[in-house]
Amino acid sequence: MMTNTNQAPAKRHMGMKALNRASNSVIYILLVIISVVWLIPFIFIVLQSFRVESTYQVGYVIPKQWGFDNYIRLWNTDFKKWYLNTFIIAVAAAVLQTIIVLCMSYTLSRFRFKMRGPLMRFMLILGMFPGMLTMIILYRVLSDLGLTQTNAVPGLILVTVASSGMGYYVSKGFFDTISKSLDEAARVDGATRLQVLYKIILPLAKPIVIYTVLTGFMGPWGDYVFARYVAMGTSSGYNVAVGMYSWLTNDQIANYYTTFCAGGVIVALPVTILFMCLQKYYVEGVTGGAVKG
């Protein structure tokens, strides 16, 4: 092989270059196609949200008559209530869930106590049960506590946050990458474990804290099934997913299709902007999590 390359380096070089250029152009074409396919539905949503002439699905994309009618119409539905519900849940989940997840993952990463192994195995097994199963009972318990239907928001927060300790994997993986000798040095220097956590580890764990907050915030925007269960047909307890789903049922879609598009834009905008700003941390968390398992 070695001799092969040495025989005619110049010619081979030229061939490689041409080949490279050809394959690169193929890649560019593919990337453009991919980008179009991936973006088109979202462009369609935006375009259709400005359509005034009809509210149902049509066979063209560009509105014949542009206007904000659909957005104005949103204002007159329960949408603003749903939006507020979701926003409250998202903020609460982002804060509380982050605290819980960090407590859990920091402990499992740093402390070696007797029950650590069994605990992690137990949670792995728990995770294999379909979460859906617990809904039936949680719904009854929440309704006994008066936290369903009109009070769905606190109920949903409670349920979302309470079991969030199970999702410790990603941030534990991150904590594992922070050298343990930092903890040890700090403890020798006179820090208690609590001080180690907030003086040394948390400042270093900024990326994963942001990741956890971001995922905690984004989760509730797409939460459908449990939110529907808890709200149980009471519109004022819906979140955006449940509410907007009700617009696309067969008897509603003709009236609400373009309204749905407008709502989609309003929902997606803040989340997307936030996400794009914090993208770096999200990418870090996702890749780290997959590598650590």
Binding site: E184, V188, P203
Partner: protein, 374 residues
């Protein structure tokens, strides 16, 4: 400024692996003790048990007469330097060094005084406002030492502090640690896998293997009279040559018969053999490379051929092979050879070597113990 006493200290991990067996040692006040051994011998584990970073499975650790088994690291009056420096990456050098002082609520002007003084001693004043990642390895190591210095601790623990540095820096830092020790005047416990560091730094060396102490002694003691084959092989570079052979006692005189050549045992070693009334027996003979000499014409000598000639500057390391293909290393000072002799030492050439009778070591092939100890 404290003594450290370990009594029957044992470390058993959860998986029942015993990392340290019945470790007994008394370290005097202001003594510099080095734990040395190959990786996995339990030296770091022992140090970490003294520091309180590792639970003590059995036995007791006393610092200044107080049992510290159940104390947290911060309450043991120790300072520690870690192998990978363990500097807090988000703090400046100043904050790193000041960290422990601030935790103990020292007034800021005292903190300032102590930190700048330590920085001055270590020559890192100009880096005080930088973050650790902007420093070189040697500078980071100094910061780590500085952080330990300001703690005014009773015992100074160092866990392989030089092993992440390159060879040149390591030599330099070694000298600085000796100076530091003179300035701090406190008890040091130092862990390393490098026997040179152990020899040059320690008042006493603790040589460990597989969780057992193999020998405790001053550098001179462990070099001159290694307790067993392991210590003999571990201390000294290049390594001691070992030859399976016989010890012969004839009319009160002792001989060894390596490769069928009869060589006399002389001096103190012969006296010690006689005093212990050692009979003729099988032994493992140990000879350091520097105690093998090129034989003069006519003297009793072992013929061998040269495999590799390593030129080290002030000396030559000759890797030779005897007739039964035993490999030996011979260390010859370059000064002892003239240019012609040096030129004749080409690979494959024939050599005659002999051992110095007063520098031989005798080990039991079964127990691997030195015959002259105990």
């Amino acid at each position: 400024m404290a003594s450290v006493k370990l009594t029957k200290v044992k470390k058993i991990y959860d998986n029942k692996v015993v990392a340290v067996h019945d470790f007994d040692l008394e370290i005097k006040d202001k003594e510099f003790v080095v734990f040395v051994g190959p990786s996995g011998c339990g030296k770091s584990t022992t140090l970490r048990m003294i520091a309180g970073l590792e639970d003590i499975s059995e036995g007791t650790v006393e610092i200044d007469g107080e049992v510290v088994n159940d104390l947290q690291p911060k309450d043991r009056g120790i300072a520690m330097v870690f192998q990978n420096y363990a500097l807090y990456p988000h703090m400046t050098v100043y904050d790193n060094i000041a960290f422990s002082l601030r935790l103990s609520k020292t007034p800021e002007d005292v903190v300032y005084e102590k930190v700048t003084k330590a920085a001055e001693v270590l020559g890192i004043t100009e880096y005080l406002t930088r973050k650790p990642r902007a420093l070189s390895g040697g500078q980071r190591q100094r910061v780590a030492i500085g952080r330990a210095m300001v703690r005014d601790s009773k015992v100074f623990l160092m866990d392989e502090p030089l092993s992440n540095l390159d060879a040149k820096l390591r030599n330099q830092m070694r000298a600085e640690i000796i100076l530091l020790r003179q300035k701090l005047d406190t008890t040091f416990i130092y862990v390393t896998h490098d026997q040179t560091e152990a020899m040059t730094l320690g008042d006493r060396i603790v040589i460990m293997k597989d969780g057992f102490i193999m020998q405790v002694g001053t550098p001179q003691e462990v070099f001159d009279m290694p307790d067993n084959l392991f210590v003999a092989g571990f201390i000294g570079a290049p390594q001691m040559n070992f030859i399976n052979t016989e010890l012969v006692c004839e009319n009160g005189k002792y001989f060894v018969t390596p490769f069928g050549v009869k060589l006399p045992v002389e001096g103190e070693k012969a006296e010690m053999l006689a005093k212990r009334n050692v009979k003729s027996r099988k032994i493992v003979l140990g000879v350091r490379p520097e105690h093998i000499t090129l034989a003069k014409e006519g003297a009793a000598a072992i013929p061998c051929s040269l495999l590799v000639n390593e030129m080290m500057g002030s000396e030559l390391h000759l890797h030779v092979s005897t007739e039964d293909e035993t490999a030996l290393i011979v260390r010859v000072p370059t000064l002892n050879l003239d240019a012609k002799e040096r030129a004749s030492l080409t690979n494959g050439c024939k050599l005659n070597i002999t051992f110095e009778g007063k520098a031989m070591h005798f080990f039991d092939p079964e127990t691997e113990e030195n015959l002259l100890v105990k």
